[in-house]
Structure formats: structure tokens, C-alpha cells
């Protein structure tokens, strides 16, 4: 079981309390009418599937019920950081922790 730090409850909690909610930082297009079908399809359906660092949303479903973000390594399952909605990750593939 993973121990996941909820940035709102400010403690490590069991994975059982959480649910995974997919890729983070997907901004809704400001002018959807102006998109081509292909661009809209990309926004709605297509997601990254990296081997390595991934920024993703989790929901503390059985706890505070807030959504937050996590930077997780999809290969090792290591969670490098969790951070609140609206915040930027500090661990990225450009500047990953050494």
C-alpha cells in the first residue's frame, strides 16, 4: 500500500482513502468553438502515458474529499511530491530531483 501525503489534511494517509483521477494540469480551452475536431479530441480524450515522472490528480475520497496533485514516477511508483490545486509542481522532468 502507498502512503500518500494529503496537502489539505497535512498528513500521510493510506492509499485506501484515495482515488486516482488522471492527468493533472489540463486546462479547458478558453474558446472551444474555435477548436478543430482533432484539437477538441486531443483535449477530451488523449492523455500522456509516460514512463517516469507524471503529474496527476488524486482525490482524498474517504478523507477531506479534496482534489490535489501528485508527481509520481510511473515506473517505481515513488511519489515525489503532492501539492494543492492551482499550484505548480516543483519536481519536473526538466528539473527532477538529483
Amino acid at each position: 500500500m502507498l502512503h500518500i501525503y494529503c496537502p489539505y489534511c497535512e498528513e500521510l494517509r493510506e492509499e485506501e482513502e484515495f482515488s486516482y483521477s488522471g492527468e493533472a494540469h489540463i486546462a479547458r480551452p478558453t474558446d472551444p468553438e474555435a477548436l478543430t475536431d482533432a484539437e477538441w479530441g486531443d483535449y477530451v480524450f488523449f492523455r500522456k502515458n509516460p514512463r517516469g515522472l507524471h503529474h496527476e490528480m488524486w482525490n482524498h475520497a474517504a478523507g477531506c474529499r479534496r482534489y490535489f496533485n501528485a508527481t509520481r514516477d510511473t515506473q517505481s511508483y515513488e511519489i515525489h511530491e503532492t501539492y494543492k490545486m492551482g499550484e505548480k509542481p516543483s519536481v519536473t522532468s526538466q528539473g527532477a530531483a538529483q
Partner: protein
Amino acid sequence: MTSLHSPLAHVELPEAHAHAGVTLREDKFRGHLNLRGNPQDEAFTSAAEKVLGVALPTAPNSAVENDAVRVYWLCPNEWLLLVAEGAEGQTEADLRAAMEGQHIAVTDLSSGQTLINLSGENLPEVMMKSTVYDCHESNFPVGKAVQTTFAKAGATIYKCADGSYDLVIRRSFADYIFLWLKDACAEYGLAVQ
């Protein structure tokens, strides 16, 4: 005319044990209110404090109480208020009056939730079996309130001053949780008050 039925009104009580390691007491028909608002808004926090007599707790997993109400922090903008049976209507009305015009929500959850208290010398063992949360006193001191799972069902667990736990659970899960406890406490003896 309405009559109140406890969520556990129908359960068959276990046979009395000479030595019960765990005691279950249902604190039925308490008033449960959910309050939402912006804790950075001074008008909101002062109105809540005026009505409740205590300031809303803002530290995660914390709770405060006085003679009339116990307040659990649920998330940065949400609290659970536990009041005496029948007091929920007046408390809701008082909160609405004090917060007139503010962007808030007060929801009466009294008929959807119930509160059970667990005590006894074998409680630590039963908690270890039942919840994923670490109930060791270094992690779960008196006065702390956490939302977690109990027998995989959602529960808000509060550690009381006497070392017992108050569990707020959904009414519809009360029967299931009782049956879980009956089984989980079989080797220690379960008493129901």
C-alpha cells in the same frame, strides 16, 4: 406526527458477556449539521463563533467543543457540527440569520448519519482490525478528529477524553458496521448499551 427510529433499532443484541472487552453505545438522534464557508472571511468566522460559542477550528484533523456543540474540521472550508437531539433546527436557523447574505451553506445531515461510541480495554485491537488509520496515541491523541475508513466504510473518528472513540457513520451503513463489530469483537466480548 413523526417518530424517530434509531438506525440500529432492529439489531439483535449479542448475548451478555461476563467480561466485555468492547462496549458499543449508540448516541442516536444527535443533531448533525454540515457548515461550509470561507475561513479567510472575518464576517463568516465571527458569525459562526457568535452562534456556536467557539471559534471554528482551522487546523487539519482538529475539533473543538463546548457544552452545546462539538465542531470537527472536515476540510479547509467545511465543518461538521454535532449538537443535542432536537437542537439542529434552531442552530441551523441561528447560523443562517447570522450569515445572512454570505456565500455559505448549512445542511442538516441528522437523518443521514448516526454516532456510535466504542470503548473498552480491547478497543485498540479492534481499531487495528477495522481502520487503516494509525490509532496509536502518538498519532491519534485525544481531541483529534479524522475522516477515514472503518471496515472500508467512510467514518469520522474522534478520540474522546476518556480514551473511547466517537464514530460518525452513515445511517445506511450502521447495520453493516454493527455486524462487522459483532464479528470483530467476538473473541473479546461485545456489550451494547
